[in-house]
């Protein structure tokens, strides 16, 4: 592999990794704070992509559609937490897993009823549709650079919120000590609702950002779910920083693996994860 191609692939890997981080961030946040393993997280990614596709078709504006879809996802998150998740706080964790599996069935079915089963695509917004010259024979699309920047911006924002704000302080406290948060006079219920809704919104936002680059098809949620779990487990469940590092590692490794040994590349991320867990049974950045 030439040096030039090496760098091209590295950039491909980083770009894929950043998107993985965005999808995984909500999953790890919700698990870290609430201890809930949300198997329906991938469905939220799917919902985001379908919503933005639908609104772009109706309104024609990507920005407006993206904002509208994100807002709907936030509302959906609040609704799900209030109606369903909240009832299971005192129950076995596996009951929560079962609930989220039920939700996967429901969301997949609603997708088919509301939007049909044709594969869809969203056009890249006009302003970002160009590409910059890259190597002699290829160019790099502006939208993909933009998407990577958005992912970085959200990563920074998440880091800032968690480490510098009052909400972040409560989140950090909530992870370690539920009673303490309540002693501070904070309603833990509202905190959980907010965190869960943000988690759902993050998944949907990644679906929105991915929509112009990917195809919007039934089952798209499940296809990212497992990769997301791998990312989060490598990084350490509940750690945002871990998810970031894990996502970049998985992105880069799987990009190089698909080029260098395509037939093995399915297994590579699992092998990597197993190796990480053998050395660090709680992931890289476990608390």
């Amino acid at each position: 592999m030439s040096t030039e191609l090496f760098f091209v692939q590295l950039i491909n890997g980083i770009q894929y990794g950043l998107l993985l981080f965005l999808i995984a961030s909500g999953l790890t946040l919700v698990f870290g704070v609430m201890g809930i393993l949300n198997l329906a997280h991938g469905s939220m990614y799917m919902v985001g992509a379908y919503l933005v596709w639908y609104f772009v078709a109706v309104t024609g504006s990507f920005t407006a559609s993206a904002l509208l879809s994100a807002a709907i996802a936030l509302g959906l998150g609040i609704l799900i937490e209030r109606l369903l998740i909240q009832r299971l706080y005192n129950r076995n964790h596996l009951d929560q897993v079962l609930l989220t599996i039920g939700m996967i069935f429901v969301f997949n079915s609603l997708q088919s009823i509301l939007w049909g089963n044709d594969p869809y695509g969203v056009a890249v917004p006009e302003a970002l549709s160009g590409s910059v010259p890259f190597t002699d024979n290829s160019s790099y699309p502006v939208y993909r650079i933009f998407a990577a920047l958005i992912c970085i911006a959200i990563a920074v924002a998440l880091y800032f919120v968690v480490s510098k704000t009052r909400l972040g302080m409560l989140i950090r406290a909530g992870e370690s000590n539920r009673e303490m948060v309540e002693a501070l006079g904070v309603n833990i219920k509202s905190l959980y609702t907010i965190v869960f809704a943000i988690g759902v919104m993050l998944a949907a936002v990644s679906g929105i950002i991915a929509a112009p680059m990917r195809s919007i098809v039934p089952g798209m949620g499940e296809s990212v779910l497992i990769t997301c779990f791998v990312v989060v487990v490598i990084g350490g469940m509940g750690s945002i920083k871990g998810a970031f590092v894990g996502a970049l590692m998985v992105g880069i490794i799987s990009t190089f693996a698909t080029v260098l040994m395509p037939t093995l590349s399915n297994m590579i991320i699992y092998i990597f994860m197993i190796l990480v867990l053998l050395v660090k049974p709680q992931g890289l950045f476990a608390k």
Binding site: L84, R87, G102, I226, M237, N266, I274
Partner: protein
């Protein structure tokens, strides 16, 4: 009496009486005998999972690895056009599966909790891709088993596996043996230590027991039972496919086990019957059966604290 609860005794009595009679009222070739056989085989698989998840405390999302392996090992080990002895090969396959489970167990049991879930999932996905990508094992199209094995023991043959009713009774026997085996293990000293290490690992360790070894042996037992179920499933229709190993398969079994009432063992049978029954009815009701299925799962989680078995016990126990 190894069945402590009244509910358990009542349910199992009704279940086995009904199950024994089912083929008497149906034609041999009827779809329902085949369907019931599949459900029984699945129940064996789910019971083995329920033992691991509910009693040993090992939440695995890679159990289908062994379910698929049971069938693949049969195809790999046996000659294509010659009927082999079922029992001999069942023992071979279970022994090899146990060995594989031992090796896998040594690796996966280094982790716990959510990490255990993920590492088991990872290993089963790797096996899935191995068979999916391999031409010699049929790739994504899977492989056919052309000859059903014969079942004679010391020259005496009771069962003809080409006869669906006979196969049905073989599956029912598997349910009974698995149920008894798990129950006996749980009541033994070994079982009590295993349960103690789930409820209070530190104390059990302090008492001088090597928790790792107990868990490893349990993992091997559960996995071997799953491989037997998988062997039966592959033989029933003479077909293996890598999809039998997917995490969705493991996940569905987990759903059945939780619905039935985690750790109750007989609840695994109840959960399997309910899930399969609901799916059958919903599928024939509407093209959007997934919506009904998802709704039913959500409702049951919300309403039933300890699964279906827990609900029955509330009704029947004083």
């Amino acid at each position: 009496m190894i069945f402590e609860k009244r509910t358990e005794r009542i349910f199992l009595a009704i279940f086995f009486v009904v199950a024994l009679c089912i083929p008497l009222f149906l034609e041999d070739n009827s779809f329902f005998v085949g369907k019931a056989t599949t459900v029984l085989i699945l129940a064996v698989f789910v019971m083995s999972l329920d033992f691991l998840v509910g009693r040993v405390g090992l939440v695995t999302l890679g159990h289908a690895l062994f379910y698929g392996l049971g069938g693949y090992l049969f195809v790999i080990l046996t000659p294509e056009y010659e009927a082999v002895n079922f029992w001999t090969y069942a023992i071979y396959i279970m022994a090899i599966s146990a060995l594989i489970a031992l090796i896998v167990g040594v690796v996966v049991l280094r982790t716990s909790g959510i990490y255990f879930i993920m590492i088991t999932l990872a290993i089963s996905q790797m096996a899935y891709y191995f068979f999916f990508d391999s031409l010699e094992f049929g790739g994504n199209d899977g492989l056919f088993i052309f000859m059903k094995p014969e079942t004679s023991i010391f020259g005496l043959s009771f069962l003809n596996l080409d006869n669906p009713s006979h196969f049905y009774y073989l599956a029912l026997l598997a349910v009974l043996v698995t149920l008894l085996a798990i129950k006996i293990i749980l009541r033994s000293r070994f079982g009590r230590i295993v349960e103690a290490s789930r409820l209070n690992p530190e104390r059990t360790e302090a008492l001088g027991y090597n928790i790792f070894a107990f868990r490893l042996i349990s993992y091997v037992i559960g996995s071997t039972l799953a491989a037997y179920a998988g062997l039966l499933f592959a033989l029933q229709y003479g077909y293996v496919n890598p999809q039998f190993m997917t995490w969705e398969m493991s996940g569905t079994a987990l759903v059945m086990s939780i619905l039935g009432g985690l750790g109750t063992i007989y609840g695994a049978i109840l959960g399997t019957l309910t899930y399969e029954g609901l799916q059958y009815v919903f599928e024939h009701m509407s093209e959007d059966w997934m919506l009904l299925m998802g709704g039913a799962i959500i409702l049951m989680v919300l309403l039933l604290r300890k699964g279906l078995a827990g609900y029955l016990e509330k009704l029947l126990e004083k």
